[in-house]
């Protein structure tokens, strides 16, 4: 792979990382910690929303994020003929 292509691949990778890590930060540190009082005003079933994000929701999102990353990167590898 030539240098230019490698740089392009890397830039696209970084773009994915920034988007995914922003979501990672938002659901855990944002919803589960910083904004918890605001979210706790809402309820889903017996859960206060902020509490749910801190003890359940953030973990589900983490799992989904990694699987989205796997799909995105596999697609990227294919686009650059690395697969």
């Amino acid at each position: 792979m030539n240098k230019k292509l490698a740089e392009k691949y890397w830039k696209e990778n970084i773009k994915y990382l920034i988007i995914l890590l922003s979501i990672w930060f938002t659901v855990s540190f944002g919803f589960g910690i910083l904004l918890i009082e605001e979210l706790n005003q809402f309820k889903i079933g017996g859960f206060k929303l902020g509490f749910w994000f801190a003890q359940q929701g953030s973990i589900y999102v983490f799992v989904i994020l990694i699987f989205i990353y796997i799909i995105l990167m596999n697609r990227l590898d294919k686009k650059y003929n690395l697969k």
């Binding site: 792979m1 240098k3 490698a6 691949y9 890397w10 990778n13 990382l17 995914l20 890590l21 990672w24 855990s28 540190f29 589960g32 910690i33 910083l34 918890i36 706790n40 889903i44 079933g45 017996g46 859960f47 206060k48 509490f51 749910w52 801190a54 003890q55 359940q56 953030s58 973990i59 589900y60 983490f62 799992v63 994020l65 990694i66 699987f67 990353y69 796997i70 990167m73 596999n74 590898d77 003929n81 690395l82 697969k83």
Partner: protein, 557 residues
């Protein structure tokens, strides 16, 4: 069948399974010993990582701890899962592409320096030893509680088993036993949780159950908040810790997770970069099953406990109460001599002290589940402790035989000689871990938190910048690691052991607890690394090429 018989049967069966796997997967080369020949499938590696990661503390203590601190327990739930996102996105694929055996390998090569390598070995050893002592203790505790043998005998039995499959099979043996151990531990954790969820809410899925209504039509969490308030405890769904501290502890645990050598090294065992990504996904999925169930168990156990004991006559207590009183983990002192149990927040009036560990262990008895479930729980707790201990022992042995002997002391050692050195160091590591299990240093609990802080403060910045910042040179990385490490050690020893004048909560810097200080030390590491880096020359051309190389997966044929 009696409980004792069930327990012997369950433990006997699982242990013969582990030994069988060890014989089948004997390691024949150093590559097999260190990284299982890099031929593990992503799914198997995901399970092995999950078992490696989830220790006796996750299995036995975490749910109990959460049941006493409620919302504040979220730091562990988010901290010990969120780190996998960092691992999957920032570390695992690139380290797999780099493709050597250990974390000090990467640090030493990327920073073209044996000093960096030695610093990394030192960090890896401190982190792993503090951790493994706790695991051996866990093994001993489970044996003594369930098999009524002495704790020390329990530690020795555990040592013998780990010794057998770690020394014989190396990473290859460990990986496949961990796969089996994951299956045992997750089954053992879920079965009682599902039973209890059905009993209390009618919902078989614990994750949904603890947000449902009980038989009285009141939401379980609302009821628990109410009970807690009435007894003077803080509301279950809100915390007591400051927001800043919760933020810092969560971050330290996340980053620490991503920096732990025994977790990172698991990603060296798969075939290719895309497999490293996949196995991080599987690992977190398998971990999440336990981590989303634990807060449900916490709520069930807490509600059950309060309803069973609070303001009830001591003479009417069920059998399990008496059983656990015998172990000393549950004690009742009738202060006002009314024969009724007062369980309240106020220590002057409170008459009941409960060790947090019994919340998970006593759960099946409290819920009146059959004997085989209790036996299963014992086997699960042992699987959790043994799998983590084995993973840590491997890091210790490879740090010595590979990073120190092969890379620094005697580079001309033969493949066969290195394999023998690896086995010998694994052997001594087990003995040392066993020694600490039998004579636990009083600071074990404190140093486990230290391990995360240390990993966050030392490894994480050095590895991340090694991949994402081509300009980072050895001067920057070494000074960052050393500063982060020393700062973290200073803070922990100051506030945990009272060195350097000690101090209380009021003296914490910016109100950050020692548990959360890893985040601060990590930030300092980043600042120091970047500043020192720019005062010194760029890294040599071939290192910049190495970085470019690890960023791109190899073409797969």
């Amino acid at each position: 069948m009696t409980l004792q018989l069930w327990i012997w049967l369950m433990i006997g069966l699982t242990f013969s399974l582990y030994i069988g796997i060890a014989i089948w997967s004997k390691a024949g080369s150093t590559k097999e010993f260190y990284v299982a020949g890099s031929g593990v499938s992503p799914l198997a590696n995901g399970m092995a990582t999950a078992a490696d990661w989830m220790s006796a503390a996750s299995f036995i203590s975490m749910a109990g701890l959460i049941s006493f601190i409620g919302y504040d327990g979220s730091v562990y739930l988010m901290g010990w899962t969120g780190g996998y996102v960092l691992l999957a996105l920032l570390l695992a694929p690139y380290l797999r592409k780099f493709g050597k055996f250990t974390v000090p390998d990467f640090i030493g090569d990327r920073y073209y320096s044996d000093t960096a390598r030695v610093v990394a070995v030192f960090c890896a050893l401190i982190i792993s030893f503090t951790y493994v002592a706790g695991q051996m203790r866990g093994v001993g505790l489970v044996f003594s509680r369930y098999l009524e043998v002495d704790i020390n005998t329990g530690v020795v039995i555990g040592m013998a088993i780990v010794l057998f499959y770690a020394v014989l099979g190396g990473m290859k043996g460990i990986t496949y036993t961990q796969v089996a151990q994951y299956c045992v531990l997750i089954f053992a954790f879920m079965v009682p949780a599902i039973f209890i969820s059905i009993q209390m809410t009618g919902n078989p899925i614990p994750q949904l159950g603890f947000g449902s209504q009980g038989s009285d039509g009141i939401y379980l969490l609302d009821k628990l908040d109410g009970l807690s308030r009435d007894l003077g405890f803080h509301e279950y769904t809100t915390g007591e810790k400051s927001k800043l501290d919760v933020f810092f502890i969560t971050a330290a645990l996340m980053v620490g997770t991503a920096g732990l050598p025994h977790v990172i090294v698991r990603f060296f065992t798969v075939k290719k970069v895309s497999d490293a990504r996949k196995s991080a996904g599987w690992a977190l999925l398998f971990i999440a099953i336990l981590y989303t169930t634990a807060p449900a168990i916490a709520v069930f156990a807490r509600t059950n406990l309060i309803e069973t004991v609070s303001e009830k006559k001591y003479d009417d207590m069920p059998v399990w109460f008496e059983n656990w009183e015998k172990t000393g983990l549950l004690t009742f002192t009738d202060k006002n001599k009314d024969g009724v149990i007062q369980y309240v927040a106020d220590p002057q009036i409170n008459e009941l002290t409960i060790d947090r560990d019994i919340m998970v262990m006593a759960n099946p008895e409290i819920a009146e589940l059959p004997n085989w479930v209790i036996a299963l729980l014992a086997a699960g707790a042992l699987a959790a402790a043994l799998s983590t201990a084995a993973g840590l022992l491997l890091v210790i042995s490879s740090s010595i035989s590979h990073d120190l002997i092969k890379k620094i002391i005697k580079p001309d050692v033969s493949e066969k000689g290195e394999l023998i050195a690896a086995r010998v160091s694994a052997f001594f590591a087990v003995l040392l871990a066993g020694y600490f299990g039998i004579n636990p240093p009083g600071f074990v609990a404190a140093v486990v938190a230290l391990a995360f802080g240390l990993a966050a403060a030392s490894f994480f910045p050095a590895i991340v910048m090694g991949i994402f910042y081509k300009r980072m040179n050895k001067e920057g990385a070494i000074s960052g690691m050393v500063t982060g490490l020393l700062l973290m050690l200073f803070y922990m020893t100051k506030f945990k052991f009272g060195w350097f004048g000690g101090g209380t909560e009021a003296d914490w810097w910016f109100g950050i607890s020692p548990e959360g200080f890893g985040t601060f030390a990590m930030l300092v590491n980043f600042v120091v690394s970047l500043s020192v880096c720019h005062l010194n020359a760029k890294p040599p051309q071939e290192i910049q090429e190495l970085v470019e190389n690890i960023r791109i997966p190899t073409i797969e044929n």
